[in-house]
Amino acid sequence: MFDNFPLWPDKASTAAGNVDALFIFLVIVSGMMTLLIFTAVVYFAARYRRQQGVQAEQIEGSIPLELTWSIIPLGVFMAIFFWGAVVYFKGRTPPRDSTEVYVVAKQWMWKLEHAEGQREINELHVPVGRDVKLIMTSQDVIHSFYVPAFRMKQDVLPGRYTVAWFRATKPGTYHLFCAEYCGTQHSGMIGSIVVQEPAQYEAWMSGGTTGPLSATGEKIFAELGCVTCHRSDTQGRGPNLQGVFGMPVQLEDGRMVTADENYLRESILDPGAKIVKGFKPVMPTFQGIVSEEQLNALVAYVKSLSKPGTPGPKTAEAAPSKAPAKGSQVE
C-alpha cells in the first residue's frame, strides 16, 4: 500500500471484513445509480440539445414510472438497512467471556486498565484472536473510542458506561483516535492499539502488576465498609452480591432490571435510584467519594463474584486461564 496515500484502511478485526463487504456493496449500488443518472443526463443533454425548428415534446409524467423508481429504490434501501442492522447488532453485542478492559477517558488522554490489573495510557495491548470487551466512561466531556482498523467506534460518556468490543485478527500497531470533539487537544487525544500474538501478549502481561482489578476492588470494598452490609449471607442490611451480576433483579417498585455494569455503577453512586425488593434505602451515596478508577475496580469485583456461579459454554481460548477466582490474589 501507499504509505502516504492510503485508499483503504488496515483490516485487523473480525468486524472489519463485514463492514468492508457492506461498504463495497453500497459503493457498487450507489456507483451504479450514479452512473445511470449521469449517463442519462449527459446523453439527454447531448441528444436533445436545442436545434432550429425542433420543439420539446411535452410529457406529463407517468405513474407506473414514478412507482417503479420509488419502489425499487425502497427495496434496495431495505436490503441495505437489514444488512447494516445485522452488522451493527454484531458489533454492539459483546460475546460472553470476553476479556475485559476498563477505559477511562479524560481531556486529553485514554487510561486503560485490564481486568488482570495492567494499566496503560494511550496504548492498549491485546492478543490476536481473543474477544475484548471495553467498558468505558469519561471523567469530563464526551469522547469517542475509534479504531479505524477495527471499524469500531463508540462514544464515551461521563456519568455512565458504554460498551464496545472487538476481536483483533492481525498483529500490528493501529491508530486509536478520539472521534468526538472534546476541546483544545482533541486531535492530540490519540493512541495506539498494539495487537500481539498470544505468546508475546502473555509475556507482556506477565510484567509488573498490582494484581487483578477485582482484587483492588475487593480491597476498596473492605476499606469503604461495604462488607458490613453486603454480606455473603442473607443477614446483611444490603443485598448479598454473590452471583448478582448479569441476573435480573426485582426492585421495590415492582420493576425488573438486569444487573449490568451500568446498574452496578448507579447503585454505588445513586443507591436510592433502584432499591432491591425487600431492602430499605439505607445505603449512602459514594458520589464524589470514589474515583472513576476505584468505581471500575468495585464493579470488576462485584462482577467477579458471579464468575464461578455462571457455568457457561466457555471455550478454552475465550476464557483466560488467569481469570481470577473469587477473592484470590493472582501473583
Partner: protein, 234 residues
C-alpha cells in the same frame, strides 16, 4: 408604512386595509392564520421543555414527586382559575366589540389585564416561597431529607430534585414571560379600544391578541398538573 402607498389605488379603502391585500376579508384571514402559525411555533418551543420534562420525570419519578409536592398547589390552582377567568373576559371583550358595546369591551380588557397581573402576583408569591426554602437551583440549593411520597423512609435525591426545580423555573418563567408580553399586547389593545378603533366590522387585532392570550392559558392548563400535581396523595 403602508398608508403612504395607498394612493396607488384609486378606490377608497378602509384605512386599516393594507395596500397589498385585495379585500378586508383576505387581510383578516391572513392575520389570524399568521397568528395560528405563530402559535404552532410556540407549541414546539414549549415542546422541547415538555420533552425534557417527560424524560426526567420517568427517570426520577420519586424525586420529581417529592419536589412537586413542595410547591403550593393551592396557589397553582388559584392561578389556573385566574387564567381561566381572564380567558373568559377576553372572549367577552371580543363579543362586546362584535356587538358594538364599547364600554363593556373596555371593562373586559381592563379585567383581563387585572387577572393577568393577579396571576403574576401570585406567581411572585410562589417564587418567593421557593426562594426562602432554598429550592431555587444553584449554589444555595438545598433539598435534604425530603421524603418521597409513598416511601416515607426514602429521601429524594437533591440533585434530581434540582432538575425538577430547574424545569419548573424555566417552564413557569417562560410562561410568565409570555404573560408579560400578553399584558403589553392587551395594554395596546386597550388603548386602541379607548380610541374607538374597533368596530363590529373591524376588530382583527382584538381577535389575534385573544388567540395569543388563550394559547398562554392552554400552556398553563398543562403546566399546572404536570408541575404541581405529580403525586399529592398523603
Amino acid at each position: 408604512m403602508a398608508a403612504v402607498h395607498s394612493e396607488a389605488h384609486g378606490e377608497t379603502h378602509n384605512p386599516a386595509l393594507l395596500h397589498h391585500f385585495a379585500t378586508e376579508e383576505q387581510q383578516r384571514d391572513a392575520s389570524s392564520f399568521g397568528m395560528w402559525i405563530f402559535l404552532a411555533t410556540e407549541v414546539m418551543f414549549f415542546g422541547g421543555l415538555f420533552c425534557a420534562y417527560l424524560i426526567y420525570r420517568r427517570w426520577y419519578f420519586g424525586d420529581f414527586a417529592a419536589a412537586s409536592k413542595s410547591i403550593d398547589a393551592f396557589l397553582g390552582g388559584t392561578n389556573t382559575a385566574v387564567l381561566i377567568c381572564s380567558s373568559l373576559t377576553v372572549v367577552l371583550a371580543i363579543w362586546a366589540a362584535q356587538t358594538a358595546r364599547r364600554a363593556l369591551m373596555i371593562i373586559m380588557l381592563l379585567l383581563t389585564m387585572l387577572f393577568g397581573l393577579a396571576f403574576l402576583g401570585i406567581k411572585a408569591v410562589e417564587y418567593k416561597q421557593k426562594f426562602d426554602e432554598h429550592h431555587v437551583p444553584g449554589a444555595s440549593f438545598s433539598f435534604e431529607h425530603e421524603s418521597i411520597p409513598g416511601h416515607p423512609d426514602q429521601y429524594a435525591n437533591p440533585r434530581h430534585a434540582q432538575i425538577f426545580f430547574a424545569l419548573y423555573f424555566v417552564m413557569t418563567g417562560l410562561h410568565a414571560l409570555h404573560m408579560i408580553v400578553g399584558l403589553g399586547i392587551f395594554a395596546w389593545l386597550l388603548w386602541m379600544a379607548w380610541k374607538g378603533r374597533f368596530t363590529p366590522e373591524y376588530h382583527t387585532p382584538l381577535e389575534i391578541g385573544g388567540l395569543y392570550w388563550h394559547f398562554v392559558d392552554i400552556v398553563w392548563i398543562y403546566l399546572f398538573p404536570l408541575l404541581y400535581l405529580i403525586d399529592r396523595h398523603p
